[in-house]
């Protein structure tokens, strides 16, 4: 029986494994389906990673490389080219590889770090034909950055989240013509800096409140039709505009990959599509922790690292002390203006000086106050100049304050306007 199995060797799994090792866990295995560690960072060749964690701006591979080197200084073992097929509540992990066949490994603790997948065309039911030349942005990124293929010459990008924006720049630098970036919301989902350095730098127009309403082309994409949408995001007839393109890149959302979590009977939060976790990143199954994009989709890998280190430390502590104590948990609810919080529960509030709570606003707000309430009583307030759904926020709740609450629930909400 192993101490700890970490499922996924991307940034989350790497940080969690290192942290668990530092915390005293010894018999640790990372299971990674790809031929190398690093996860999605291997194809994120652009810079913008590590400003918080390392104080310098690194590219994805460089960021991954730092943790891979850290890992090499530990005794953590790695199984590459290995796919986890199943995991049970009893922490039996079923895995398969060409080298070792189909095995079941048992561990005292498990950390889920499987990351997320991209939403495909069907998720938004784009009408039109189904020719070659329609890619999710991440799949195109893999083709271009890892394998060096050209995916298209005249490109339309749907979705102005960071992946779409990054690919707009990438494809332009690779010699393609990016005709436009089309975004269904009235605001971009990506970082403002990416609007500048990926679209404005290259004169690529951004069409907010627009979406693709038709794709034409028999064998390969030939045209895409874009229309403005109304407040309910429905296309407005008469506003159509046709783009002659041979490629459409879809950057229409990421979904945490929790097929395995569901198999283990872990409680999933429908708001995040990820496991319900407490402040230690422990799921509803004692001894199974989760961190990174599998819990909720992050904007910055630095936050993934922080969260994953917390999970690793908690897993090591769990191994050292055994089952966690029973007791009520403080539930965090999302109030007005808040889409979700992670963690969703706080179990041992007094154990830490403060607990970081991450949340996403459900709409764009200017100057706002983030309020934490117990019933009607306001326990804490935080000021923010600007909130957007595309930018994950963090508030730090003092441990003493939380301890005084006992169990029950707290509501986090956003009120726009300064006081």
């Amino acid at each position: 029986m192993l101490d700890l199995i970490v499922i996924g060797g991307g940034p989350a799994g790497l940080a969690a494994a290192c942290s668990a090792w530092e915390g005293g866990a010894k018999d640790i295995v990372i299971v990674e389906r790809d031929k190398e560690l690093g996860g999605i960072l291997n194809q994120c060749i652009h810079s913008g990673f590590g400003l918080h964690y390392f104080g310098e701006e690194l590219t994805g591979p460089e960021y991954a490389g730092r943790f891979i080197r850290m890992l090499n200084d530990t005794g953590v073992r790695v199984e590459l080219d290995t796919m986890v097929l199943d995991i049970t509540e009893k922490k039996e992990v079923h895995l398969v590889s060409a080298a070792k066949g189909y095995r079941v490994l048992r561990a005292k603790a498990v950390i889920l770090a499987m990351g997320c997948r991209e939403r495909a065309r069907g998720a938004i039911s784009i009408p039109g034909s189904r020719p070659a030349g329609i890619f999710t942005a991440g799949a195109a990124q893999r083709y271009v950055n890892i394998e060096g293929h050209k995916v298209g010459s005249r490109i339309l990008i749907l979705g102005s989240g960071d992946i779409g924006l990054i690919m707009a720049r990438r494809m332009t630098l690779e010699g393609a013509k990016v005709l436009a970036c089309v975004e269904v919301m009235p605001y971009s989902g990506g970082l403002a800096r990416n609007i500048v350095q990926c679209l404005q730098d290259f004169g690529i127009p951004l069409y907010l409140s627009h979406t693709i309403v038709d794709i034409k082309g028999r064998a390969r994409v030939e045209q895409a039709t874009v229309a403005r949408v109304d407040a309910e995001r429905r296309p407005i007839p008469g506003t159509e505009r046709v783009f002659d393109c041979d490629t459409v890149l879809l950057s229409v959302g990421l979904i945490p990959e929790n097929e395995l979590s569901r198999k283990a009977g872990i409680e999933i939060d429908r708001r995040t599509s990820g496991p319900v976790v407490d402040e230690n990143m422990e799921t509803s199954v004692p001894g199974i922790f989760a961190c990174g994009n599998v819990v909720h989709v992050h904007d910055l890998v630095d936050f993934v690292t922080a969260e994953s280190r917390r999970a690793g430390a908690a897993a090591a502590a769990y191994l050292a002390r055994g089952e966690k104590p029973e007791g009520g948990a403080l539930e965090l609810k999302n109030g007005d203006g808040v889409a979700y919080t992670v963690p969703q529960k706080i179990r041992r509030p007094g154990a830490k000086k403060s607990v970081d709570v991450f949340f996403r606003a459900s709409r764009v707000c200017g100057k706002s106050t983030v309020a934490v309430r117990r019933g009607d009583a306001v326990l804490a307030k935080f000021r923010r100049d600007r909130l957007a759904p595309g930018e994950m926020e963090r508030i730090a709740l003092p441990g003493a304050l939380l301890e005084a609450c006992g169990s029950g629930s707290l509501t986090v909400s956003v009120e726009e306007g300064s006081e």
Binding site: E36, I45, S47, G65, V144, G148, L173, A192, R193, D201
Partner: protein
């Protein structure tokens, strides 16, 4: 007065740069933002990332970046300078791939290690 979004870090502060007053910058949360605001209106620079061919490695492409930001007007020329480059594994992160890109003083360096590996199974 020009309004800009600072791109130095993910915060994306909204800057106001006053060309008439020696490019004084307001709205920045840190000194790097002030520096960026001034530079962006006088001599804008960018870090460039791309890939080059590599033989004998796990993948056919090796990611690279400029060791420092280079003048924005040189970006496409810089990327073109990578066209004929062929690396051979092993390669280490930080290894210089193209020296003094387009006379900018910055190099293109590899951003990851690649060991020598046989053809993929």
């Amino acid at each position: 007065m020009t309004e800009l979004i600072c791109i130095v870090c993910p915060k994306g502060c909204r800057l106001r740069v006053d060309e008439a007053r020696g490019f004084a910058v307001k709205g920045n949360s840190c000194p790097r933002g002030a520096e960026y605001g001034r530079a962006e209106l006088t001599h804008p620079v960018r870090v460039v990332t791309s890939t080059v061919r590599i033989a004998g490695a796990l993948h056919p492409r090796c990611p690279v970046k400029t060791s420092a930001p280079i003048p924005k007007k040189l970006v496409f020329d810089a990327v073109r300078a990578l066209d004929g480059v062929r690396l051979a594994a092993p390669v280490s992160a930080g290894q210089v791939v193209v020296r003094n890109v387009c006379g900018s003083g910055a190099d293109f360096v590899a951003t990851r290690d690649f060991q020598l590996s046989g053809p993929r199974p």
